[in-house]
């Protein structure tokens, strides 16, 4: 069986992880894009950023999540997309861990900007660690499979 027609299980799993992360980050990014002030409140509650940084990050981070998620789903720049997703997940995990240890009773703001969601718990951190493991696996083993054949020819334009 030639390499071109085989799809090893390792790469299948990496592809599945990539798609899961793509949908997750696309969804998370879009809900934040639709409510920048709500996300700014969440960022302020985390007490990890100086005041001057809250607005720029409230604007940039949602788009970062959305574009990275879209890249993972469409098969464009998947290596960069998974690397970025891993970095973001690492940052989120550290931030939530710090606030959990500090005893701050705040909401995550990951997928819901409502002020009436539950507070951060160690389950949120375990969830993000799980996503991080998926991201690392996808970064190492995903081979950029894309159902759109022609665009895939250009997906490594950035070298």
């Amino acid at each position: 069986m030639s390499e071109e027609s085989s799809f090893p299980s390792q790469q299948k799993l990496a592809f599945i992880f990539r798609i899961i992360l793509g949908f997750t980050f696309l969804y998370a990014g879009v809900i934040k894009i639709l409510d920048p002030p709500g996300f700014a409140v969440i960022l302020n509650n985390h007490k990890l950023l100086p005041s001057w940084a809250i607005n720029p990050i409230a604007i940039l981070l949602p788009w970062l999540e959305t574009v990275a998620g879209a890249c993972l789903l469409l098969g464009y720049w998947t290596i960069g997309g998974t690397l970025l997703v891993c970095v973001l997940l690492f940052v989120f995990t550290v931030a939530m861990s710090v606030n959990l240890i500090r005893g701050l009773d705040i909401s995550c703001g990951c997928f819901n900007l409502s002020s009436r969601t539950d507070a951060i718990t160690w389950l949120h951190i375990l969830r993000d660690l799980g996503f991080l493991c998926m991201g690392i696996y996808a970064f190492l083993f995903d081979r950029g499979f894309c159902p759109f054949k022609k665009p895939c020819m250009k997906r490594f334009d950035v070298h």
Binding site: N45, N55, L60, W63, L64, T66, A68, I79, F145, V158
Partner: protein
């Protein structure tokens, strides 16, 4: 169906370098889209534009009075005030001025009748939040003023100042 597999470098170091370059491209695109979307943002400037206290005080409508921590304490002791905590419910549960009501600016309607009743009893309505640059108290006060609540004050940087002075506080036990 044949899959289209591009020639991908197997070395992780080279993969990492390509990943960094592609990440930079993604960040650049996100930055452009962020700036573009904010240019067309219909809801006005975002809060937390600065940590400069003087600039934050200028943002409060001049028709709304500001009070100091000493005044807030005096009103509290004489039971002459209704404190409104403008933060989110989780922060409120973590600690607040005793007797305060939790009224995030977007949820004023639910508490409006109670606030009006308290104002009629002669109580001063004092809004506070957390931090020098927090705009929530000013936003809440402005919303109340527009709804006809005249006796409303903003206690700038209220929550940190209240705690620093060692005044009593209340926490809610999780259900």
């Amino acid at each position: 169906m044949k899959f289209s597999m591009a020639s991908i470098p197997n070395g992780n170091a080279q993969r990492f370098i390509i990943g960094v370059r592609q990440s930079m491209a993604i960040i650049f695109i996100a930055l452009l889209l962020g700036i573009l979307s904010y240019s067309f943002y219909p809801f006005g400037p975002l809060p937390w534009s600065t940590s400069n206290t003087n600039q934050d005080n200028k943002k409060i409508n001049p028709k709304i009075n500001k009070i100091t921590v000493q005044d807030a304490w005096a009103f509290y002791q004489r039971k002459q005030a209704l404190f409104l905590d403008a933060r989110d419910p989780l922060s409120f549960r973590g600690g607040h001025i005793p007797g305060a009501m939790n009224v995030p600016p977007k949820e004023v309607e639910a508490s409006l009748s109670i606030i009006r009743a308290k104002e009629k009893e002669g109580l001063r309505i004092i809004a506070y939040c957390d931090g020098e640059a927090c705009p929530l108290a000013a936003e809440l006060a402005e919303t109340l003023r527009k709804k006809g609540i005249d006796s409303v004050y903003v206690f700038v940087n209220g929550w940190p100042l209240w705690r620093e002075n060692g005044y009593p506080l209340e926490k809610e036990v999780n259900p």
